[in-house]
């Protein structure tokens, strides 16, 4: 998909809560013998949720964008961990950053793809001229059933991207995008249930790999590009193995993927996962470099983006904490505190 008018990223911001629980600690509780999928994962504080993390990421994005928040005329919050079943996260975020009341605000749900689904919306809203700026947020306090494979990776984090028409003020612009969606029952959470269910190994081939590979190839075909044309590749990160394997399938060297890998230190932040990985690349990328960024959401689908970095990145990247700064802010907690922070004990 290509827009009639070129659209870019004016500012981006990431938030990762400071608490971590190690996979070794989770494995100690559940007597896991197989090697755990990541080193540790991020955990919210008791007073944090998807709304507070969205606000923090949005404020960092505004700091980098150097714009008046009243000019953000659309906000999309993509998440599967809404504090309210009914009442939008986006209205609280819009109020807290000072974007109300002339703003189109709503939440989106598409498992781990909800954040990039919002990004697609924002690109269209800006390109059409309906809004001056639009902000897409991917955020989750990811749920994993105690003892389940998902508990070893389900992390917490947020990423916000403010989109505007391409100019000298955009840090990168979108060359094109591609969405690939099918009805695939790989992972779900029914109404009123605390934890999702998944279909184990079925989640790999027909879900993650098929959708990411198809979206990435579809995009490269449409734009006439090949893997060697890209300097970086970022994929959704449910664990370390999957993004490295999908990179190999598509023909990307490990050094093009490594700068965007954050899963080993903060876990799978679901709707924020690929967007935090992309921010990690923007933290180090040079003007003129091309990035392939592909999300995946169960259910299932992928959004692929080709992004070219612009000169403004050099001025703007230090206006807010970088992903590495947020990863370094780290307080390790044990399983008991983790259970309290994630409210797994219901009294």
């Amino acid at each position: 998909m290509r827009t009639i008018r070129e659209v870019g990223i004016v500012g981006y911001g990431v938030y990762v809560p400071q608490y971590r629980v190690s996979d070794e600690e989770i494995a100690r509780i559940w007597h896991r013998e197989a090697p755990p999928p990541v080193k540790e994962k991020s955990v919210v504080n008791l007073d944090e949720d998807s709304i507070t993390m969205s606000v923090e990421a949005a404020r960092y994005a505004i700091a980098r964008a150097r714009i008046d928040p009243r000019d953000i005329e659309a906000i999309r919050v993509g998440t599967e961990s809404k504090p309210y079943a009914v009442k939008p996260c986006a209205t609280v975020v819009a109020e807290a950053i000072g974007a109300t009341p002339k703003v189109l605000a709503c939440d989106l749900e598409f498992a781990c793809k909800a954040g990039t689904e919002g990004l697609q919306d924002c690109i269209a809203l800006v390109a059409s001229g309906m809004t001056k700026y639009a902000m897409a947020i991917g955020v989750d306090t990811a749920q994993g059933r105690p003892g389940d494979e998902l508990e070893y990776t389900a992390g917490c984090g947020a990423a916000a991207y403010i989109v505007g028409l391409k100019s000298d003020d955009t840090i990168a612009y979108f060359e094109g995008s591609y969405s690939f969606v099918t009805d695939t029952p790989d992972f779900w959470r029914r109404e009123g249930q605390f934890y999702p269910r998944h279909t184990g190994r079925f989640t790999g081939e027909p879900a993650y790999f098929r959708h990411i590979v198809s979206a990435a190839k579809g995009l490269m075909d449409e734009l006439g590009l090949k893997p060697s044309d890209f300097d970086y590749a970022v994929f959704h990160q449910p664990n370390l193995k999957f993004p490295l394997r999908v990179a190999r399938i598509l023909g990307f060297d490990r050094e093009k993927v490594q700068p965007g890998i954050v899963v080993t230190e903060i876990g799978n932040t679901y709707a924020a996962s690929m967007l935090i990985g992309l921010a990690s690349v923007l933290d180090v990328a040079k003007p003129g470099q091309r990035i392939l960024a592909v999300s995946f959401g169960s259910g299932a689908g992928s959004d692929a983006f080709s992004i070219i970095v612009q000169d403004a990145i050099e001025d703007k990247r230090n206006l807010a904490p970088r992903v590495r700064d947020l990863i370094r802010r780290r307080a390790l907690i044990d399983y008991a505190l983790y259970v309290k922070h994630r409210r797994k004990i219901r009294v």
């Binding site: 400071q18 504080n45 008791l46 007073d47 944090e48 949720d49 709304i51 507070t52 606000v55 923090e56 404020r59 700091a63 504090p83 309210y84 609280v92 109020e95 807290a96 000072g98 230090n318 206006l319 807010a320 904490p321 970088r322 700064d325 947020l326 370094r328 802010r329 309290k340």
Partner: protein, 134 residues
């Protein structure tokens, strides 16, 4: 806090908006209708700086209803960069690590929840600075 009060005051709690006296230019948080320094009723809303330092603090070990799960938690007297002083909860810091003079930044957090099915009240707390945060 009732839902209407929370809603009426959310502007101040969400965005750290205080008031400034138009006569003596003293600033206050939470905002006031009458200046306690010069008695003027001419006050306007003003966005206060997000950064400040801890002047002094105490640890709440026996919390009021609705705050039980956060205890023990620090409450601090904070002086913002413009000299405005306010009282706020500190978060993301172990009570034993709080120090007088530590630099803190405003953050958007849950203040309390009215039960499992009630409104979630959000507002400002302060936390230690993150690396590369201005």
């Amino acid at each position: 806090m009732s839902v209407p009060i929370y809603w009426r005051e959310s502007k101040y709690r969400y965005k750290l908006i205080g008031s400034e006296c138009m006569k003596c230019h003293k600033r206050f948080y939470p905002p006031k209708r009458v200046c306690p320094v010069c008695g003027s009723r001419e006050l306007k809303d003003v966005k206060l700086p997000d950064k400040g330092h801890v002047v002094t603090y105490t640890i709440i070990r026996v919390p009021p209803k609705g705050y039980e799960e956060y205890a023990p938690y620090p409450i601090a007297l904070i002086e913002l960069e413009d000299g405005t002083r306010l009282i706020a909860q500190l978060t993301d810091v172990d009570p034993k690590d709080v120090k007088i003079g530590m630099v803190v930044k405003a953050t958007f957090r849950k203040l309390s929840e009215i039960g499992r099915d009630g409104i979630i009240q959000y507002g400002v707390k302060f936390r230690p600075l993150i690396e590369n945060e201005s």
